[in-house]
């Protein structure tokens, strides 16, 4: 049981980290999903692994604590699932937006001072040409 849970957490984390390091939007989203599964299982196991035991107390008289399982990690996992679900949705929207605007799905971007050679090429009159400047124009929303 311990070995199974531990190796599941390990495998999911390893896969998640590998996918995040691919630095392409789709792979990163999948990687973050894998990582959140890993962390959910991990959180679940922090209340110690117990099979077939209820997380609710039967009345207020507790005779044997070993007959119950810790309900708190289950509540934490539930919260974590909801948050990671919402965050994944937000991330997908961001990735789509960035992909549609930029035309590629790279997650990392060049440093803010890059590329140096374009400074000379970019005249102050044409600040938009390198695409690095602030965009102050109101964005036309193309429906």
């Amino acid at each position: 049981m311990e070995l199974l849970v531990a190796s599941a957490v390990g495998a999911l984390t390893a896969g998640g980290v590998y996918l995040i390091l691919r630095l392409r939007a789709f792979a990163v989203i999948l990687g973050l999903a894998l990582l959140s599964y890993a962390v959910n299982i991990f959180l679940f196991s922090t209340g110690r692994l117990a099979v077939g035991k209820p997380p609710v107390l039967d009345g207020y008289t507790v005779s044997d604590f070993a007959a119950y399982t810790d309900p708190l990690p289950q509540a934490l996992v539930l919260t974590a699932i909801v948050i990671s679900f919402g965050m994944t949705a937000v991330l997908v929207m961001f990735a789509l937006g960035a992909y549609l605007e930029a035309g590629d799905d790279k997650v990392d971007m060049d440093g803010p001072d890059q590329p140096d050679r374009q400074i000379a090429a970019t005249t102050p009159q044409d600040p938009e040409s390198d695409g690095i400047t602030f965009s102050f124009a109101p964005k036309e929303r193309d429906a």
Partner: protein, 521 residues
């Protein structure tokens, strides 16, 4: 139980959906509601600060569950100070956003702004580590929206990078909390202080892992090298008012380190020892250096200010890493200072960039109001770099004084002093390029330049002189720095009491777990 403690969370939480659902088509109404809400938050936070000033720890039991089982909000001097700082900054930033029309360049600025305030205030008030995670998520998800406010290709790319970075951070936070719960069986901060002290040696390893994981998570927020690389791209590409509001976001990371590591994993703790202190000191040294070098090497105004923020976080965390009362006092003073200094500079940069048309630091024809902007930038740069007479100087002086012990002085003084020198050089270089050399070129007619560039959007407002209303917010931030300098004595006295309270763990624990709200020394 005083219900005002939860007001800084409830008020924006109620206002934000109202703005999003009812007022989304009426910008005037949304502006009015958001302004009233922010001013009310300011009034509440002043009230809370007065309430906390007598030194008692006020505890709010959510749902009236007893302490280690339910979630608690804790108001002590530090929380009250941070909430007040947030409310002041929010008022200034909101003023700027409305005066420059930033809030009208995309949808839902005010709703997201209020959600952001809810998350930040909640993070400062909570006394529960998992609740801290939840409030982190609230402030992050609002900041994702604010970050890409008004859209644009580069901003969306920077936003995606920022989201991914913070989602990985959130996952690590959950791993850390899981480890902490597995080893101590609690997530309440007061209970954690007790349980970590009493932990059996067998759990020491797990506790150390959890403490380090938490340091990484908060390091991401606080832009601690090597976890700082998201910051320049984010701050330089975020809308200016948002970048100014983000000045408090790095401080959320610093606050979490002060609160959790300072109280539960400090050097006097047998389980962690000087582990956190040592790592934080070294990383903060490197952060100071990276910030200073970044300032010197920056080619854009946005990245110049971003690296200045990183450098100031390094200096701040250097003082935090000592974990002693006097150093904490100086760290808190510098924290307040650097928040307003960064906000003033980001707001000012917005006005400058709007008139220059881009934010490259090279020589360009002078814009309208060159002299005024130069003077304001000069004042902001003095504050940021830590030169007299503004509060940056006092803050750095006190931090140097706090880091005077023989084993620290060599590294810390070298990093801070050399870092300050490089920062001064960087700002001087940028300022002379932006304002001084530019006057050598003929001053062009704003209307013609804009027409020649063919950028229709700029012709109307952006090349015109900034109105008094648009300049007022950055002036206000600078004025607050002057106030912080003039009132340095009383402020330091308050911060000394704050830091003393922070190190008086037993009364914190007593207040939260036993409900004994007694006045501290």
């Amino acid at each position: 139980m005083n219900h005002w403690i939860i007001a800084p969370v409830i008020l924006p939480a109620l206002l934000a959906p109202l703005i999003a659902f009812v007022m989304r088509h009426d910008i005037v109404l949304a502006r009015a509601a958001s302004s009233v809400g922010t001013l009310a938050l300011l009034a509440i936070s002043v009230g809370l600060a007065i309430m906390a000033a007598n030194g008692s720890v006020h505890v709010y039991y959510l749902g009236n569950w007893p302490a280690p089982f339910g979630i608690v909000l804790v108001l002590d001097r530090l929380s009250a100070l941070m909430v007040l700082l947030t409310a002041l900054l929010a008022a200034i930033v909101l003023f700027h956003a409305i005066a420059t029309g930033w809030d009208n360049r995309g949808n839902h600025f005010h709703a997201l702004f209020q959600f952001q305030l809810m998350g930040i205030c909640g993070a400062f008030l909570t006394g529960d580590a998992f609740n801290l995670f939840v409030f982190f998520e609230v402030l992050l998800i609002a900041s994702y929206g604010l970050m890409v406010h008004a859209g644009g290709k580069v901003r969306l790319q920077a936003g995606l990078q920022y989201v991914v970075m913070n989602l990985v951070g959130s996952t690590l936070f959950l791993f850390a909390l899981g480890t902490l719960y597995a080893s101590t069986g609690t997530l309440n901060i007061a209970d954690l202080i007790v349980k970590v002290q009493e932990s059996s040696p067998g759990d020491d390893g797990l506790i150390r892992v959890a403490a380090m994981l938490l340091l990484i998570v908060f390091g991401v927020k606080a832009a601690l090298v090597p976890l700082h690389f998201w910051l320049p791209a984010t701050y330089a590409n975020a809308p200016a008012p948002v970048a100014a509001l983000f000045a408090i976001m790095t401080k959320v990371g610093a606050y979490a380190i002060i609160r959790i590591h300072g109280m539960a994993f400090g050097p006097e703790n047998p389980a962690t020892g000087s582990l956190i202190s040592d790592w934080l000191f070294v990383l903060a040294l490197v952060t100071t250096a990276v910030g200073a070098i970044g300032v010197l090497g920056a080619r854009r105004l946005g990245s110049l200010l971003s690296y200045a923020v990183i450098g100031s976080m390094g200096t701040l965390l250097l003082a935090v890493s000592v974990f002693d009362p006097y150093a904490m006092t100086t760290a808190l003073y510098y924290l307040v200072h650097s928040t307003f200094a960064a906000a003033a500079l980001f707001l000012l940069a917005d006005l400058i960039i709007a008139r220059r048309g881009n934010d490259w630091l090279g020589v360009q024809p002078a814009t309208v109001q060159n002299g005024l902007f130069a003077a304001l930038f000069f004042a902001g740069a003095i504050a940021m770099a830590g030169m007299p007479p503004l509060s940056g100087f006092l803050g750095k002086l006190m931090i140097l004084d706090a880091l005077r012990s023989p084993e620290l002085i060599g590294w810390a003084w070298t990093a801070i002093l050399l870092g300050s020198l490089l920062t001064i050089l960087g700002f001087a270089q940028a300022g002379s390029g932006l304002f001084w050399k530019s006057t050598a070129s003929p001053v062009s007619d704003p209307g013609k330049t804009a027409a020649a560039s063919g950028d229709q959007a700029k012709t109307d407002t952006d090349s015109l002189p900034a109105t008094a209303l648009a300049i007022a917010p950055s002036m206000m931030a600078l004025c607050l720095l002057v106030v912080l300098t003039v009132m340095a004595g009383p402020v330091t006295t308050y911060l000394e009491a704050t830091s003393a309270q922070l190190h008086d763990r037993s009364s914190y624990v007593d207040a939260v777990l036993n409900g004994n709200t007694r006045e501290a020394k």
